[in-house]
């Protein structure tokens, strides 16, 4: 197992290098505007743009620029400075990362709990009114765009512009102090972010559980006289939930790169917002930094999920 983990970590490092190179190339090969021209203001002379390009290091060859970037990153953990406001990218990112982690973690707890619960109920009461109702609701939740759902929730439930003033509105997370206060401001964003995922997990678990409950060993468990609850949870769900865990890990990893839409509609300063703004402004260094964070999160979550597999499924060995 240790050797496997080490191998995966080394592959992760290589993956991150490849990703920085690809991001670099995309930024320069595809038309995205010239950061130097953008900083030069109105009616700049070619000499002014050239001088700015030189000060930003943009006049060096692409390999030289890339090498400079990697050197700073590896030796000093320095992600460079934002082309837009000259702030250190590391500060910008790590200032926002806890917000994204809090948002995603809370939502993950909700969507996993809700998804598993709904999936079990639906599978166990297959064909009943509750099954149809819950699966119909899941379809709606999957179909509803996150941004739209967020706006609907704000217009219905936020305490400033909502019809029923229940939950803190957009921007309230920034003003909250203390964990509980911040958590209260995240109730709506958590629910909005969790909705589609819960629905997907519910449907996934339902279909897996239905399949599992038809297996021979389930029939055997019943034949042995085990209580139905025990049969379902100890034997059925345990087996059916494995793919759900895999997806959970990957989803959390991807969202750690930023739940852009949720962060935007609720004005939460997370990694997603940062990367969106950076893309809009052609801020390469910030785009690279946030892309690395995303890649790292996905790689790590995928590794964790694979390790958990070994504990969930005794047949899996590394």
């Amino acid at each position: 197992m240790a050797a496997y983990i080490l191998r995966r970590l080394l592959w992760t490092v290589l993956l991150l290098l490849v990703i920085t190179a690809v991001t670099f190339l995309i930024f320069y090969v595809l038309p995205s505007g010239d950061p130097a021209a953008r900083r030069a203001g109105r009616a700049p002379s070619p000499e002014t743009i050239a001088a700015i390009r030189h000060s930003l290091g943009l006049d060096k060859s692409l390999p030289a620029q890339y090498w400079e970037y990697i050197k700073k990153l590896v030796l000093h953990f320095d992600f460079g400075q934002s082309y837009v406001n000259d702030q250190p990218v590391k500060t910008l990112m790590f200032d926002r990362l806890p917000n994204t982690i809090f948002l995603v973690s809370g939502a993950a707890v909700i969507w996993f709990t809700a998804g598993v619960t709904i999936g079990i109920i639906s599978a166990v009461s297959r064909g009943s009114f509750w099954d149809r109702f819950l699966m119909g609701g899941a379809l709606v939740a999957i179909s509803a765009p996150v941004y739209w759902l967020g706006l609907v929730c704000l217009y219905l439930f936020s305490d400033d512009i909502g019809r029923w003033k229940i939950f803190p509105g957009a921007g309230s997370y920034q003003d909250a102090h203390g964990l509980l206060d911040k958590a209260w401001t995240l109730v709506m964003p958590w629910c909005v972010l969790a909705a589609a995922f819960a629905a997907i997990y519910a449907r996934l678990l339902r279909s897996n559980l239905l399949e599992t409950m038809n297996e021979d060993y389930i029939r055997t468990a019943r034949a042995k006289g085990l209580a139905e609850k025990r049969v379902i949870f100890r034997h059925g769900v345990r087996s059916a939930i494995t793919p759900v865990i895999t997806v959970l890990g990957l989803d959390i990893g991807i969202l750690m790169g930023g739940a852009i839409l949720t962060e935007t509609v609720f004005n939460i300063d997370g990694i997603g917002r940062l990367s969106y703004d950076a893309i809009q402004r052609g801020d390469l260094s910030t785009v690279q930094g946030t892309t690395l964070i995303l890649a790292f999160a996905v790689a790590m979550s995928s590794l964790i999920v694979d390790i958990m597999y070994a504990f969930l499924d005794p047949r899996v060995r590394y």
Partner: protein, 605 residues
């Protein structure tokens, strides 16, 4: 399917539909589809009913104290007065810094002395400007001393360095010693001298004192203390942006060593009172105690509603078109509208046949439905339809004909939806007897791939096609539109899908010369004269007018505006208005110079 199941399904679908309709609320696109009819009033035809008179609001004796929250969709570019060049930055800079000259909210055309004691003295040969600096103005903590002329000189010196990278060096390039390219490190600009602590002398290479004096309203003239700032300016880029000091009534909250702790990039900016500000030296009332600017309010609809429904809040930019319509028709008293001080236009490349023929260009203008282009940007409550180029409330506007304009038949208040008869006549004059273009070639139009520019360029394409032109519309990222296409003559863009030119200071030369003077077209580099207009008469008139001052100057530039309009090198399609909204309990005052709320004049009711 059983009947009961079918009924259940139908009921569910109806419930979902009801939910969708309820959630979507009112008609968000109404303002885009309503034409509102055509009014040919002598005043602005886009004046939304209701709204606060900004001049009256500025004259209200406000209540001292209180705090405002400003919701902003994006961060400032920079807080450093030597670097900032956008409205957001100016909105923070002007209440916190004292420039040599600035504008009262009541008059965005005439600057008043601020840090300067009086009007600039211009020598007879127009090559020297002398400014007396006001006494008693102090820097905020931790500098805590009186401002001298050397601080303004240092501002200029650092502005020209690559460490700071001032974004409008062209306005001051005529200063003796001003470098052609940014200097490595902060270097002395020989043309700026300080014979004593309260006198600043600017020597110029040419007789350009009038426009340079007009440019002394810009943030670069805010003083920067060298002994404090030089360690930050030694870095490249300078870090003064997060260690700045203030001279205005407010300052960005900082700690004892000057770190701007109140500035959280991309999140918020906290403004507090500058303890060293002396009200007796300043014309600003500064009623508020503090301002909290949230720079992450990304959804404009939500933010607008929060402001309108909440208390002590303001929004930094134009609300969405649906909100503007509600303001004009329902809410009525929580907004102020001011001219944005610029024009938006579609440049027509005068070097590409047949657009090198002035009658063809006039035909295009005559046929053009400018109201449709305005709709693409939000409709009649968001902008006026131009009849020339100098915008409303700008020096020279009235002399150029005001809202009615010079009265050319191809660009008047009478044909805002286009007049095909007039257009056909011009085409016939140009040698197209059918009244339309009969050639087969495709003309390239380049525009941004996002709205509203995308929408407005699609309108423009349709207008050209009405006259028989075949247009190939190429959509590219916003940043590439000018830098890679429209400002690059060799790309042969026939029509740029929308450009804008907005004032940097209140002088008509800065609004017309960079955009339409033939002699500004560079041999290489980016070209602001996207139409590539080369009219010897216009150029000669500009060179002559540059040397004039006072009313004579305004009249001369107004006449140039008429000449340019007559040349039809571009289709001006909107004079933007900026709509600013506030909560009910706020007496909001806007500054027409940087077209944003002015914290130094705003108060709570």
């Amino acid at each position: 399917m059983h009947r009961s199941h079918l009924r259940f399904l139908l009921v569910s679908m109806l419930a979902v539909l009801a939910l969708v309709v309820a959630a979507c609320g009112g008609d968000d696109n109404d303002s885009s589809s309503s034409s509102g009819g055509s009014t040919t009033a002598k005043k602005s035809d886009a004046a939304a009913p209701g709204g606060t008179d900004n001049t009256k609001a500025a004259e209200v004796e406000g209540k001292k104290g209180g705090s405002i929250t400003m919701l902003a969709g994006s961060d400032v570019d920079f807080l450093d007065p030597g670097r900032s060049y956008f409205t957001q930055g100016y909105m923070v800079i002007y209440p916190t810094q004292r420039t040599l000259y600035s504008f009262k909210p009541q008059d965005s055309a005439k600057p008043v002395p601020d840090l300067a004691e009086g009007e600039p003295e211009i020598s007879a040969d127009k090559k020297t400007i002398t400014v007396k600096i006001r006494k008693g103005v102090k820097f905020s903590p931790p500098v805590d001393r009186e401002v001298t002329s050397k601080d303004i000189k240092y501002s200029f010196d650092r502005f020209f360095s690559e460490n700071v990278g001032g974004q409008y060096p062209g306005y001051f390039s005529s200063i003796e010693g001003a470098p052609a390219t940014p200097t490595k490190g902060v270097k002395d600009i020989s043309g700026i001298t300080t014979p004593d602590d309260n006198t600043l002398v600017i020597k110029l290479k040419e007789a350009a004192a009038v426009p340079v004096a007009a440019a002394l309203v810009m943030p670069v003239t805010a003083p920067v203390p060298e002994e404090y700032a030089k360690k930050f300016d030694a870095k490249n880029p300078s870090t003064y942006n997060t260690h700045l000091v203030a001279t205005g009534p407010y300052m960005v909250k900082n700690d004892a060593s000057g770190n701007a702790v109140g500035y959280k990039a991309g999140k918020s900016i906290a403004l507090v009172r500058n303890p060293n500000w002396d009200a007796s030296t300043d014309y600003r009332p500064a009623y508020l105690d503090s301002v909290n600017i949230r720079t992450n309010a990304s959804d404009a609809n939500v933010a607008s509603k929060q402001v309108l429904d909440g208390q002590s809040m303001m929004f930094d930019a134009n609300p969405p078109a649906n909100i503007v319509k509600d303001l004009a028709t329902k809410i009525k008293d929580q907004y102020t509208q001011i001219p944005s001080g610029g024009y938006r236009y579609f440049p027509i490349n005068t070097t590409i046949k047949p657009f090198d023929n002035v009658d063809v260009r006039r035909a295009v203008l005559a046929a053009f439905d400018r109201n449709a282009a305005r709709l693409a940007r939000g409709g009649k409550f968001t902008a006026d339809l131009p009849t020339h180029f100098l915008p409303p409330d700008f020096p020279g506007f009235e002399q150029a004909g005001g809202y009615e304009g010079p009265g050319y038949d191809f660009l008047s208040t009478k044909n805002e939806k286009g007049d095909m008869t007039i257009a056909a006549n011009y085409m016939k004059k140009a040698g197209f007897p059918s009244g339309k273009y009969t050639g087969n070639e495709e003309f390239l139009m380049v525009s941004a791939n996002v709205d509203p520019n995308k929408a407005q360029s699609e309108v423009a394409k349709a207008q050209f096609e009405k006259l028989g032109f075949k247009i190939r519309l190429r959509l590219v990222p916003q940043d590439a539109v000018y830098n890679d296409w429209c400002q690059v003559p060799k790309k042969k863009v026939a029509v740029c899908g929308g450009a804008g030119w907005f004032k940097d200071f209140a002088d008509p030369q800065s609004m017309l010369e960079p955009v339409f003077a033939g002699y500004t077209i560079p041999k290489s580099g980016l070209n602001n004269n996207m139409a590539q207009l080369r009219d010897d008469k216009v150029d000669a008139a500009m060179k002559k007018a540059a040397l004039l001052d006072g009313d004579e100057r305004l009249q001369a530039w107004a006449d140039i505006d008429k000449m340019i309009t007559n040349d039809a090198p571009a289709i001006p399609f909107v004079w933007d208005k900026t709509t600013l909204i506030r909560s009910n309990n706020v007496n909001g005052v806007a500054n027409g110079y940087y077209t944003a709320w002015d914290f130094a004049w705003t108060s709570l009711k």
